[in-house]
């Protein structure tokens, strides 16, 4: 796809996140959102009066609130402002970021605040995800977003031992990162010497997908503020530039595939990465990016998807894991925040990836800041039936 010239530059200028937690009985939905809104405004050094438009997103059926932006205006500060509500399932948070980038670049708005949230404690999450399936057939067969097929596929290709170890190693690394991030909902303090025990004892969910591999159900809100170049340069913190983004969806029918090498199935992750990197002239993403905040719903998917996003062909992704190069001080740090297994307030989760990537670029990630400069960051969103969103962030306006 040809490179399209952006109408004007857009930067992330403020980030606010609540503590992610399994339960927030102490606040209702607008109150929880308000916590993150205040933090983001404080981070940007602006007030709500400086915001032109709000983009709000989550999934209605998780809390059973229809058009919740109408109620949540009490917490978002959207009163009197232009406001949008854009949702795309698990990718919602990333879509909010893309939408804010588009809205600011269009010159229709100078400062746009995105609000991604979920209060999963207030509904039944796996039931909510099952509701995604077609009511005419698959809803009666499905179990939320759980499948063991990735494990099966990896075991076939790399052997049972190596695949299981890689997935568990990935998971333990994510937990080590989560322990550095005070916003984490879950940080267990896992250690590498527990690998065998976890592979044996953590309860199975589906196939070799175990409870320890799987993401949590969290409450929480993430707010990210985007601004035009002119405004961004006047803000309190250095701007983090949004270079480009891409969204790739696929059809709903969700047959488990990949068991027959004569019928390869193109992956949205790879397709999105190929398109995005080609049009931005990036030949080797693993060399180019200094950090990748990936939407990794489970240890298995995290390990497997690295291959797609970095356009690897063989076992380079497993090697990166095995050599611990995806750790915070490694060659290709993945999810210094701890990722989705550390916290998963679904409507916010993909926006958290963008927010955390931006904090890394700015050097403001605190306890989980990568040592050394972070000039180029990548964030991904995942949802729907293998939908993917990628967003590239940069420290300098140099492309």
């Amino acid at each position: 796809m040809a490179k399209k010239k952006k109408n004007r530059n857009v930067a992330i200028v403020g980030v606010g996140q609540t503590q992610y937690s399994s339960h927030r009985e102490d606040v209702n939905q607008p109150e929880m959102i308000h916590e993150a809104v205040r933090l983001a405004l404080a981070d940007a050094g602006i007030t709500i009066d400086d915001v032109d438009a709000i983009v709000h997103g989550n999934m209605e059926l998780f809390e059973m609130i229809h058009q919740p932006d109408l109620w949540h205006v009490l917490g978002t500060g959207g009163y009197g402002k232009d406001s949008f509500r854009i949702t795309t399932g698990g990718t919602t948070g990333a879509t909010l970021a893309c939408a804010a980038d588009n809205l600011v670049a269009s010159e229709m708005y100078d400062v746009v605040m995105t609000v991604g949230f979920e209060k999963l404690q207030e509904g039944h999450t796996t039931g909510g995800i099952t509701n995604m399936a077609d009511p005419l057939w698959s809803r009666q067969l499905q179990t939320g977003a759980l499948t063991g097929s990735t494990g099966y596929k990896m075991e076939k290709e790399f052997g049972e031992e190596r695949a299981n170890r890689a997935a568990m190693m990935y998971r333990i690394i994510m937990d080590k990162h989560a322990c550095l991030n005070h916003n984490s909902h879950r940080s267990f303090g896992l250690d590498f010497d527990q690998m065998d025990e976890l592979m044996e004892n953590s309860p199975r969910l589906v196939g070799d997908l175990r409870l320890i591999h799987m993401c949590s159900q969290s409450d929480g809100c993430c707010v990210v503020i985007f601004a035009s170049e002119k405004k961004a340069k006047k803000m309190a913190k250095p701007p983090v530039w949004v270079r480009d983004h891409i969204t790739v969806h696929r059809e709903e029918t969700f047959n488990i595939f990949g068991f027959d090498e004569n019928y390869p199935v193109p992956m949205t992750h790879r397709f999105a990465a190929e398109q995005l990197f080609a049009r931005n002239g990036i030949d080797s993403p693993v060399d180019y990016f200094d950090v990748f905040e990936m939407y990794d719903p489970s240890g298995w998917w995290g390990a497997d998807w690295m291959r797609e996003f970095f356009l690897f062909e063989n076992d380079e992704h497993l090697k990166l894991i095995e050599e611990k190069e995806i750790m915070i001080d490694g060659k290709m740090p993945i999810n210094p925040s701890g990722g989705v297994t550390a916290a998963n307030p679904i409507g916010a989760t993909a926006l958290v990836r963008v927010a955390e990537a931006a904090l890394q670029v700015r050097g403001d990630a605190g306890g989980h800041q990568i040592p050394g400069d972070v000039n180029h960051a990548l964030a991904s969103g995942f949802g729907g039936t293998m939908w993917t969103v990628l967003m590239m962030l940069e420290r300098e306006l140099s492309w």
Binding site: R38, L136, W137, S149, T253, F257
Partner: protein, 394 residues
């Protein structure tokens, strides 16, 4: 001095040296100020993995200055006050770089007041001594169960609570086949009871096990009121109301001509796919279009009904069916079947007979998996459940 918590502010600063974690301060070179109103000002300097805490009047060169009162400061440090809430309500202000202040959280182990130094064993004894009085009969009407706590390691033991007729009797004993048995290390259990870690976390990490009725284990919080350690205040905060509501709106879904043909087929014991006029791929169940070719797909073909298993997803966890509220028994086999007449990825998704889920072979590349056949419901109504499940075609 914090009147609310009976702990001196000075105590927190005085213990900083011994609580310092050099690994948490790696690469930090900064000073942090603390302005505890009505008490005094302190300055923390961190450099080269070393720290210094001193009383200081000038906090001018600090990257962040915390401004708060004694109660809030102590409360946050002993975990009785939520820092985020205090921050949002303005009781806990930060002048300077908020992100930098966050680093200090990693530099120190948690402050523990010198007043109560209970051992794990003390806690365990106290927890079980208070269990009967913490029983909440009104929450568990009609419950008739036995719960065995198998607390392992130093300070542990085995207790069994018998709940019947609205009473709870606890004995230090092990019984045969309790309704549910919890197995967990003593220190971990103390952490759970003190709210430092949630039980699900231990379970996930394989540090705890539940045998028997696991749903009962999840209700322990309702059966017994929260354990309060000696000297702690009972429920310092207001009681929070949680509103429970089941939301139900009846629906009537159109099936349309395409899905309609498929469902009609099932009624007549036929499995109907449709075939893309351009690329020839089969879709099961049929869709209005071929997503790849972006063309309408009018033609249908009958496939199966037998086929071979490509992948058998054995599910150990099942969520309630949102349409019926029923939860499937686990484990069950969620299978993808390549029905006769289909190729490649044109698989059909259904369930496998429960007693056969560990008997199947999956297919991989040229290798064919176990052959299966559908078992049809007697009364078929045009639903995916007209096929009860697939079974091995022996």
């Amino acid at each position: 001095m914090s009147d609310q918590f009976g702990i001196k502010v000075e105590e927190i600063f005085d213990t900083m040296e011994e609580r310092f974690r050099p690994e948490g301060a790696e690469g930090v070179d900064a000073s942090y100020g603390y302005d505890i109103q009505g008490v005094g000002k302190w300055k923390l300097t961190v450099k080269d993995g070393q720290m210094k805490i001193e009383e200081a009047n000038d906090l001018g060169d600090c990257v962040a200055v915390t401004i708060t009162d004694a109660d809030t400061f102590v409360g946050v440090n002993i975990g009785q006050v939520d820092a985020m809430k205090a921050f949002n309500s303005g009781k806990f202000k930060v002048d300077g770089d908020l992100g930098a202040l966050g680093q200090t959280a990693k530099m120190f182990t948690k402050f523990v007041s010198g007043k109560k130094e209970m051992t794990v064993g003390d806690f365990i004894q106290d927890m079980f001594a208070t269990l009967e009085e913490r029983f909440q009969p009104k929450n568990v009407e009609g419950l008739d169960v036995t719960i065995t706590y198998d607390i392992q390691g130093d300070g542990g033991g085995c207790w069994t609570a018998t709940i019947k007729d609205g009473t709870c009797v606890l004995k230090e004993e092990r019984i045969e086949k309790p309704t549910v048995r919890l197995e967990v290390g003593a220190a971990d259990w103390v952490d759970v009871m003190l709210g430092k870690v949630d039980a699900m976390t231990l379970l996930s990490a394989g540090k705890a096990a539940i045998e028997g009725d696991s749903s009962l284990a999840l209700k322990l919080g309702e059966i017994f009121s929260k354990y309060i350690a000696p000297g702690e205040m009972a429920e310092p905060e207001q009681e929070l109301v949680r509103l429970k509501k089941v939301i139900s709106v009846d629906h009537r879904f159109a099936t349309g001509p395409v899905m309609g043909k498929f469902l009609q087929g099932l009624k007549n014991k036929k499995i109907i796919a449709n075939k893309c006029p351009k690329c020839g791929r089969l879709q099961l169940p049929p869709r209005e279009v071929c997503a790849i070719c972006r063309v309408r797909v009018p033609g249908v073909v009958e496939v199966g009904p037998k086929g071979h298993i490509t992948i058998n997803d054995i599910a150990y966890y099942s969520s309630p069916d949102p349409l019926t509220g029923e939860t499937r028994e686990t484990p069950y086999g969620s299978i993808n079947i390549l029905l006769d007449g289909c190729k490649g990825n044109e698989t059909f998704w259904h369930l496998l007979r429960r007693d056969q889920i560990f008997e199947v072979e999956e297919s991989w590349n040229e290798k064919k998996g176990t052959r299966v056949r559908p078992v049809w419901a007697e009364n078929r109504i045009g639903s995916i459940k007209d096929i009860l499940y697939f079974e091995i075609d022996k």
